[in-house]
């Protein structure tokens, strides 16, 4: 949620790219990865007596910088577009799912159960219940794992899970004092009472309350925490800028190569058809270096350009039991296997969710780091990613904070976020989780790998990780 006010600075400052220095080698790994499949710890993560749950399809609206083409919509419009895209892509009958779950972070008060409003608007049967979950940046991960839970428990066979975030408009409230006066006004019986209440309004009452940008428990903004985290792990400004350039470069390549198949086209009322993410802007290190630190001044390292930007977007995924999917004639994309949620100190380890989640989920699945072919980590800040990398690669950290004998080991960069990430594609808080899982599924298919790992951090010092297994092709 951090970079709220940054996108203005960001958008002006970068021109389309010249830097493609990382590009060439990144996509050529397929053959090598396939060779590794033979040496996996486990042939499959299927377990007797445990239902196989599959991702049938995952889609998303293009992720747009907030305040651009989606500016006049409402959150449920975006969610609706994603749902309709999913229906369209899968040919799913509108009454064929048992349940719909959406994740979101900043709630539009008019549509607080945005899942239900979007489902109704997307033409789903009104007999399908829907609820909305919130868990900061891992809200749609929570939506998906809730779906997995419902299916595993035998409650449902097919569930749509997704997420939406709409930062072009956020609920700005009257001040508490003003609200109190207005509520009393409702209850006032006589004209005299009303007039005296109105008379009590002072200029100070009129200052509005913006949605909190800061962590509630610590009052620290996420960008500030990210800067401190980067400093704690000794991540330099150059490392961060390089990673951000890498993210944008890879995203641009993936976009140009048509790899981002989860993106659906969306005809925005009154505007043109949108079919591409618009935040991808590879730029040079020199340009990156010109930006001033955005949070910790004057010596900080986190800038608008190496942070994720405020984004509008929605995602949706169709999750089914394998039997049901096959019975309905679908060819699943991937198995959704073990997952974990973790949480830790919201002050000094706010964004270390991936470090805590990764070893835990691997252990659950009985896999090792080298079993994983595809890594998709949520890129909140370049500094956060680099800090997690260093934490995973540190014996001291592993021993002191993860209760291990030695380090976990950092994911190899040649398997890591190869189609861009939240830094470049954008990060609609509630919608990112679905994108990560869908991207893993698509990359496994494309690259021929077997296991993929999703990991993400979230406000509140929480985190999530999930292991995804390719569906046999």
């Amino acid at each position: 949620m951090a970079s709220m006010l940054l996108n203005t600075m960001w958008s002006g400052s970068v021109r389309p790219s010249r830097a493609v220095w990382l590009g060439a080698r990144s996509l050529s790994m397929t053959a090598q990865l396939q060779a590794q499949v033979q040496t996996k710890s486990k042939k499959t993560l299927a377990r007797p007596g445990v239902k196989n749950i599959v991702l049938v399809e995952g889609v998303r609206t293009p992720f747009l910088l907030s305040g651009t083409t989606y500016a006049d919509l409402m959150p449920h419009d975006l969610a609706r577009a994603a749902l309709q895209g999913l229906l369209h892509r899968t040919g799913l009958p509108k009454d064929a799912v048992d349940y719909i779950i959406y994740g979101t972070v900043i709630q539009e008060v008019k549509t607080s159960n945005v899942a239900r409003e979007a489902a109704l608007g997307a033409g789903f049967s009104d007999k399908i219940p829907a609820h909305t979950v919130t868990m900061a940046c891992i809200s749609s991960n929570q939506a998906m794992t809730s779906a997995v839970g419902l299916i595993a428990a035998g409650q449902c066979d097919s569930v749509v899970a997704g997420g939406v975030e709409f930062m072009s408009d956020v609920p700005i409230r009257h001040s508490r004092k003003m609200r109190k006066t207005m509520l009393s006004l409702n209850r006032a019986k006589t004209l005299g009472q009303r007039l005296s209440l109105i008379g009590s309004i002072r200029l100070a009452h009129l200052s509005p309350e913006l949605p909190a940008v800061a962590e509630f428990s610590t009052a620290e903004t996420m960008g500030h925490s990210a800067d401190r985290l980067a400093a704690a792990f000794g991540v330099s400004r150059i490392e961060q800028d390089e990673f951000a350039v890498r993210s944008h470069t890879l995203a641009k390549q993936a976009q140009d190569a048509g790899l981002l198949q989860d993106v659906i086209s969306f005809k925005v009322p009154g505007r043109d058809i949108v079919s591409k993410d618009n935040g991808i802007r590879p730029s040079s290190m020199e340009q990156m270096g010109k930006l001033k630190p955005a949070f910790v001044k004057p010596h900080g390292t986190v800038t608008a350009a190496n942070s994720s930007f405020l984004t509008d977007g929605a995602s949706a995924a169709l999750i089914m039991s394998e039997e049901k999917a096959l019975a309905m004639g679908y060819k699943p994309k991937a198995y959704l296997r073990d997952f974990v949620y973790v949480s830790q100190d919201p002050k000094d380890q706010l964004l270390l969710g991936p470090t805590y989640g990764t070893p835990k989920v691997l252990e659950r699945a009985g896999l090792t780091m080298s079993d994983i072919d595809v890594f998709e980590f949520h890129e909140a800040f370049a500094g956060q990613i680099m800090a997690n990398m260093k934490a995973l690669d540190s014996d001291w950290f592993g021993q002191t904070y993860l209760g291990r004998k030695s380090k976990v080991g950092a994911p190899p960069m040649e398997k890591f976020n190869l189609w861009g990430g939240s830094l470049s594609l954008g990060h609609p808080f509630g919608a990112t989780g679905c994108r990560l899982v869908t991207t893993v599924a698509h990359r496994l298919q494309k690259e021929g790998g077997q296991y993929g790992l999703v990991a993400a951090c979230a406000a509140g010092g929480q985190g999530h990780a999930m292991v995804i297994e390719a569906y046999p092709q």
């Binding site: 509630f216 428990s217 610590t218 009052a219 500030h224 800067d227 401190r228 985290l229 400093a231 704690a232 792990f233 000794g234 910790v296 004057p298 010596h299 100190d345 002050k347 000094d348 380890q349 800090a387 260093k390 934490a391 540190s394 001291w396 950290f397 002191t400 904070y401």
Partner: protein
């Protein structure tokens, strides 16, 4: 018992735990015979230190920036010892001589402190004021070199930067501080009866403006990093870091250094400006301060305030104002001279001696001298959610202990809960705490009507009514539930602990913990042992008190223990003085002008006349009545009429909301008239009246030592100052006797004895000291 006195006391005289080693460095010069006042001394010293290996100061070059690290290997805290100072100067000479070095960073390798001041021990060895003055001049000159350094010096501050440490930092060109909760800057010298003698009185006003500088130096308060930034005391802040690939504290210091090196380079190549563009407000303020008339007003206001608060009893604040004034009105040269001269004068005052003694005493009383408890005490259960009970709960949960607060009615536990919440919420409003921290702290408190959870308590502290039967009842109830290791502590103010323990099956687990009201403000805890109390019980009780942040004295069981026994003497004499027609207001002002933070009449009203009567009753029973109507009779007569003191709106004074200027309660005066006795003119001068109150207190304190109630004079002094409001500049009753001379005190008491009889008979120990002037308590 002693209610508000320490609140006042505390504001005026808050000796900080961590603190202050006033400018002691200098006295080391004495051993070097401090020869000349020129640069000669430092030159010769740099030669000698280059011959010996450096142990306290080291430096390395990071590109073209010299990083100078302070690290006293002999102590946990860096202080400005002579060794450190001379090594630092030698290092600086080397760096200044090296043309390749473009900037310097001054940083401490110690976690939690930059430089906590100069070494206090050495200052006491100064033989004369001239000697101290000379030392001050020397170091002033050295710091002048820092100020005029050809390369920028950046002070990188993490943790305590106090006294001489701050004076060193403000002689540098730039200051960066971590925003850590443990970073504090300040000039606490005034609390030791001294002044900042290393140029502080001259540099601070220029840096932060006259009003702020005076406030800092006159109160000695600690300034947080945030505040320091706002004041302009530091240029830049650095956030403390969490753990990375090494521990948080270590990495934070490294990071601070990295940032400071960057800034030093920036200053050297003119990218970082040394002075910020001043805001309109600042410009305006500067203009106003430029007016001689305005400054005059400020000196005047400050002097008046000092006079009002100190009654002219503390010389240091006056000298601080004088030094600042000289510098601003007659130029820096005269200012530095005035500072060093005043510094010299102050070092040899009895006030400084007493205050430094108190500082040492307080450090001693913040240690556990009874070993590590067998079981770490973490869970408290407190019986009685009144003012005391809730207060104890508050200081416990605030320091990370968990507490059960139990009482018998919903009303009382609700009130108790509110008391704790309010105190924390006040901190939130002052931004000393976040609302989240408040909530987490409150989650350690459970208020309840039953005994659930008592079985896992490590200590039960009772704060129920002062009635032996009720105490016995709760003791038996509690003993039926608690586990064998659990301690039972009583917060009684007068009942003998052995009487309470008589009902216990485990008297070795019974101990007295006498807190002072208000618990969160009064620093003292009096721990009382009986002959049966086990050593581990004592060690555990002390460890609890230390966790609660208390200054602890340990005394032997006896009626009134130590503090209340002494206060009782004061109060009893005060009542007699009232009977003799001294007049409440006059009496109070007599005692405050003697140096007490609050007069005895106001104190009785604060404590509550009913409670005072109760204490008087118990102690009168124990020690017998002396002469005329006992204090107990008069106090009960007053409280039975509903005059219970501040809490009932009427005591000996009248308490009305919204007015601080209180008048004497005419009805109470009527009652007092009933007991009127004639004032013997031979012992009724103002000074005699003061000494009647003081001598009874002091004699009782000495008697407590004689009887073995007190373990030593140090604890006696600490107890009297922090629990009874004994004038801090006298350092406590024992130091008072030492400095005035026992013989003189005895002769005064003999004069009173002639009129009043045995209540003024000096105790044997005091007589011993009077007969042999070589005997001293300290």
């Amino acid at each position: 018992m002693c209610a508000r006195c320490a609140e006042h006391l505390f504001e005026e005289f808050q000796v900080e735990m961590a603190v202050v080693r006033a400018a002691g460095v200098f006295s080391k010069f004495a051993t070097n015979k401090y020869p000349s006042l020129s640069g000669h001394a430092s030159r010769s010293l740099s030669v000698s230190s280059s011959l010996t290996a450096r142990t306290h100061v080291s430096y390395e070059l990071k590109d073209d920036v010299a990083v100078i690290r302070l690290n006293d290997p002999t102590a946990k805290v860096n202080t400005l010892t002579w060794q450190l100072q001379s090594e630092l100067m030698a290092v600086m000479e080397e760096i200044w001589a090296n043309g390749a070095v473009k900037g310097a960073v001054l940083i401490s390798s110690k976690p939690g402190n930059f430089l906590a001041g100069a070494d206090i021990k050495i200052i006491q060895s100064a033989n004369s004021s001239e000697e101290a003055t000379g030392f001050s001049r020397q170091v002033q000159k050295q710091l002048e070199k820092f100020e005029k350094s050809p390369i920028p010096i950046v002070a990188a501050i993490h943790g305590l930067c106090l006294g001489g440490g701050l004076e060193l930092a403000i002689a540098c060109q730039y200051r960066i501080a971590t925003k850590s909760k443990n970073t504090f800057l300040g000039t606490p010298e005034v609390k030791l009866g001294l002044l900042p003698g290393l140029g502080g009185t001259q540099r601070l006003p220029k840096l932060v403006g006259l009003p702020e500088a005076l406030d800092m130096m006159l109160t000695g308060r600690n300034i947080s990093a945030d505040r320091a930034k706002k004041m302009g005391l530091v240029h830049q802040l650095v956030d403390p870091l969490g753990p990375g690939t090494k521990p948080a504290e270590e990495r934070t210091i490294e990071y601070l250094e990295e940032v400071a090196v960057g800034v030093a380079k920036g200053i050297a190549n003119k990218q970082v400006p040394l002075t910020k563009e001043k805001s309109l407000m600042q410009k305006l303020q500067d203009t106003v301060m430029g007016l001689g008339q305005v400054r005059k007003m400020i000196y005047k206001t400050a002097s008046e305030k000092v006079q009002k608060q100190t009654k002219g009893l503390y010389p240091a604040p006056v000298k601080i104002i004088e030094s600042v004034k000289t510098g601003l009105e007659h130029g820096t040269k005269a200012g530095y001279l005035a500072e060093s001269e005043n510094f010299g004068k102050l070092t040899v005052t009895s006030e400084a001696n007493a205050l430094i003694g108190l500082y040492h005493g307080q450090v001693t009383c913040k240690k556990n001298h009874f070993g590590t408890p067998e079981k770490d005490v973490k869970r408290l259960a407190i019986l009685g959610a009144g003012l005391m009970g809730a207060g104890i709960a508050q200081v416990s949960v605030h320091k990370g202990l968990t507490a059960i607060l139990k009482d018998t009615t919903e009303e009382s536990i609700s009130r108790g809960h509110e008391q704790v919440y309010k105190s924390l919420n006040t901190k939130v409003k002052k931004r000393a705490l976040t609302s989240f921290e408040r909530d987490v702290t409150m989650s350690n408190l459970s208020v309840q009507l039953d005994y659930s959870g008592f079985q896992s308590a490590d200590i039960v502290i009772e704060a129920v009514s002062e009635d032996i039967n009720i105490k016995h009842k709760v003791l038996k109830e509690v003993e039926a539930i608690i586990s064998p290791h659990c301690i039972f502590a009583s917060n009684t103010s007068t009942l003998p602990i052995k009487d309470i323990a008589a009902a216990s099956k485990h008297p070795e687990k019974v101990i007295g913990m006498h807190y002072f009201s208000p618990v969160d403000k009064m620093p003292l805890l009096e721990i009382i042992t009986t002959d049966e109390t086990s050593k581990d019980t004592l060690a555990s009780a002390v460890s609890v008190g230390l966790k609660q942040g208390k200054v602890i004295i340990v005394v032997r069981d006896s009626p009134g223990f130590y503090a209340n026994r002494c206060i009782f003497q004061t109060m009893a004499e005060a009542i007699i003085l009232l009977q003799e027609g001294a007049g409440p207001k006059k009496l109070d002002s007599l005692m405050t002008s003697f140096g007490y933070p609050i007069g005895p009449v106001s104190l009785s009203d604060e404590v509550g006349l009913d409670i005072a009567a109760h204490v008087a009753e118990n102690l009168t029973k124990a020690f017998g009545v002396e002469g005329g109507h006992s204090a107990h009779t008069i106090l009960s007569d007053l409280s039975e009429r509903g005059f219970k003191g501040r809490k009932s709106g009427k005591g000996i004074y009248l308490y009305e909301d919204g007015t601080k200027d209180r008048s004497v309660n005419p009805e109470a005066e009527e009652i007092l008239k009933k007991y009127k006795v004639a004032a013997p003119p031979a012992v009724s001068s103002d000074s005699d009246r003061q000494y009647r109150v003081v001598s009874r207190f002091v004699n009782e304190a000495v008697l407590c030592l004689q009887e073995g109630i007190l373990r030593n004079p140090v604890e006696g002094d600490i107890g009297a100052v922090f629990g009874c409001g004994f004038p801090p500049f006298h350092g406590g009753p024992f130091r008072f006797v030492d400095s005035m001379g026992a013989e003189r005190l005895v002769s005064i008491m003999r004069r009173f004895e002639d009129v009043y009889g045995n209540r003024f008979t000096p105790c044997q120990l005091l007589l011993d000291h009077a007969q042999d002037p070589s005997k001293k308590f300290h």
